[in-house]
């Protein structure tokens, strides 16, 4: 039993320096996850702010040129969210790789962008929900004290919304981490693909696939625990 485990380990990781394949895959998984999450947050913040401002302009029946641009931009953002949420991520990834950025040599970067664009749509919904969870009376109080709309959002609404946004945002990052396991489809070697490559060489699926699963699990479990702790911390400041 122990001997066969040892043999499996050597075959999977040591022979032909196969651990390097795993390391390369792990590196790409982390790069794609982190960069995509960052792109997602930036896009999500922009889309949710545009939506928030446009909604306010609509409520106030503003018809200036700026307000019209804002509302047009908001329509565009809604379309973006609808398309991203309405199509499979695998298809988005392939469209990005083989059509939109087909000549682009750095496939890892293409994956970052594809996942970032995908994540941005979900992040925007997370932030929108967070902003919506803050009582509208808070906005009215801010505006009645002469704060601008952006000022009210920045000083009054967002600090309260962050409590709901931050944990959901971390969960979104965890989701991105797991979703990156499909990048093998466009010939990028991530952790999953690395495991698959080694498996096809060693013909020993158990050791490779379960090792890969354990790495994902440790990462996700650790992050989930961290989010749980963050949630409790944020909830504590509620009680003072």
């Amino acid at each position: 039993m122990f001997e066969s485990l040892k043999q499996g380990f050597i075959k999977t990781f040591i022979r032909d320096n196969r651990y390097k394949v795993f390391l390369e895959g792990f590196k790409n998984t982390m790069i794609i996850t982190i960069v995509a999450a960052l792109i997602g947050v930036v896009l999500g913040v922009i889309v949710s702010f545009v939506h928030s401002l446009a909604e306010n302009a609509r409520d106030k029946h503003q018809d200036s040129f700026g307000a019209k641009c804002l509302m047009a931009l908001d329509k565009l953002c809604s379309a973006y969210v609808a398309v991203v949420r309405g199509t499979p991520l695998a298809i988005q990834l392939m469209i990005m790789t083989f059509i939109v950025m087909s000549g682009f040599p750095n496939k890892v970067l293409v994956c970052c962008i594809a996942f970032g664009i995908n994540s941005g749509a979900y992040v925007s919904e997370v932030i929108r929900g967070g902003i919506g969870s803050v009582d509208y009376g808070q906005t009215e109080a801010g505006r009645s004290l002469g704060l601008s709309q952006i000022g009210t959002l920045r000083l009054i609404v967002l600090p309260q919304a962050i409590k709901n946004i931050l944990p959901a945002l971390c969960n979104e990052a965890i989701a991105v981490l797991k979703e990156t396991s499909i990048v093998g489809m466009v010939a990028v070697v991530d952790l999953t693909r690395a495991g698959d490559l080694v498996r096809s060489r060693t013909m020993s699926p158990y050791f490779t696939l379960i090792s890969v699963a354990i790495v994902y699990f440790v990462l996700v479990f650790g992050l989930t625990k961290a989010v749980g702790r963050l949630e409790r911390r944020l909830a504590q400041s509620d009680r003072h």
Partner: protein, 240 residues
């Protein structure tokens, strides 16, 4: 000071204000009463443009607030507003609640803003609450802080939107007492309330709103002792 001309406000198909003409002079304390749904809160909220009117004009200190070019943020600095639900900022201490807007508008240095806030808190007997969060205050205390938060901006007029309606009965007195004291300083006020005794005592003029129009207005003694409009007679017989 405030000149309202043919003010109209629709919510979808519902016409809430059907052409209001109202003039409020400096030093006047106008109390607005009426059955629920009569448009009295909407009228008050139009005065600082929290509700954007569908038609008509609101002139405040010579500025037309319905003009799209008007900088509403600076106008609102001169109009304090007190809400039914207090709307203190829960993520800020009492002192921070009071200094937020003066510092935002760079009206004074941080030290001066704090000194002024402490002075106001001392006057309402809540100086010891300066560094706590709103959640630890009683309803009456919250509303009194909300009133002095508005006063910290040195407004020319104070708008009260049912300031005691969300309070437990035993806390109504302390809030009314503070408004009464404010009245003695000659502050111009517009008050929407259901407290008839208070209306009679503090108001220099009382307005009865019914179905989106001003159905009757008079000085308090005549208003309550000799009501002309049958709807007002009916309303008073129910609430007095």
């Amino acid at each position: 000071m405030i000149d309202i001309k043919d003010l109209k406000k629709d919510f979808g198909n519902l016409q809430v204000l059907k052409g209001i003409d109202l003039h409020i002079d400096k030093g006047e304390r106008v109390v607005i009463i009426g059955p629920s749904g009569s448009g009295k809160s909407t009228l008050l909220r139009c005065m600082n443009m929290l509700e954007v009117p569908t038609g008509g004009k609101i002139i405040f200190e010579g500025t037309d607030l319905t003009d799209k070019k008007t900088d509403l943020d600076s106008v609102r600095c001169k109009m304090g507003m007190v809400f039914q639900q207090f709307n203190l900022f829960p993520h800020k201490t009492i002192l921070e609640n009071m200094t937020l807007a003066p510092l935002y508008h760079k009206m004074m240095s941080e030290a001066d803003a704090k000194a002024k806030a402490m002075d106001l808190l001392t006057r309402i007997g809540l100086a010891d609450k300066a560094d706590v969060y709103p959640s630890t205050l009683s309803g009456g205390q919250k509303q009194r802080v909300a009133i002095v938060r508005a006063l910290a901006m040195d407004p020319d007029v104070m708008l009260f939107d049912e300031p005691t309606s969300a309070l437990d009965p035993e806390m109504v007195g302390e809030v009314l007492e503070l408004i009464r004291e404010l009245a003695k300083t000659g502050m111009t006020m517009a008050i929407v309330t259901h407290e008839m005794g208070f209306a009679k005592e503090v108001g220099t003029r009382v307005i009865f709103m019914d179905e989106g129009v001003i159905a009757e207005e008079n000085e308090p003694k005549e208003f309550f002792e000799n009501p002309q409009n049958p709807r007002l007679q009916d309303f008073l017989s129910k609430v007095l």
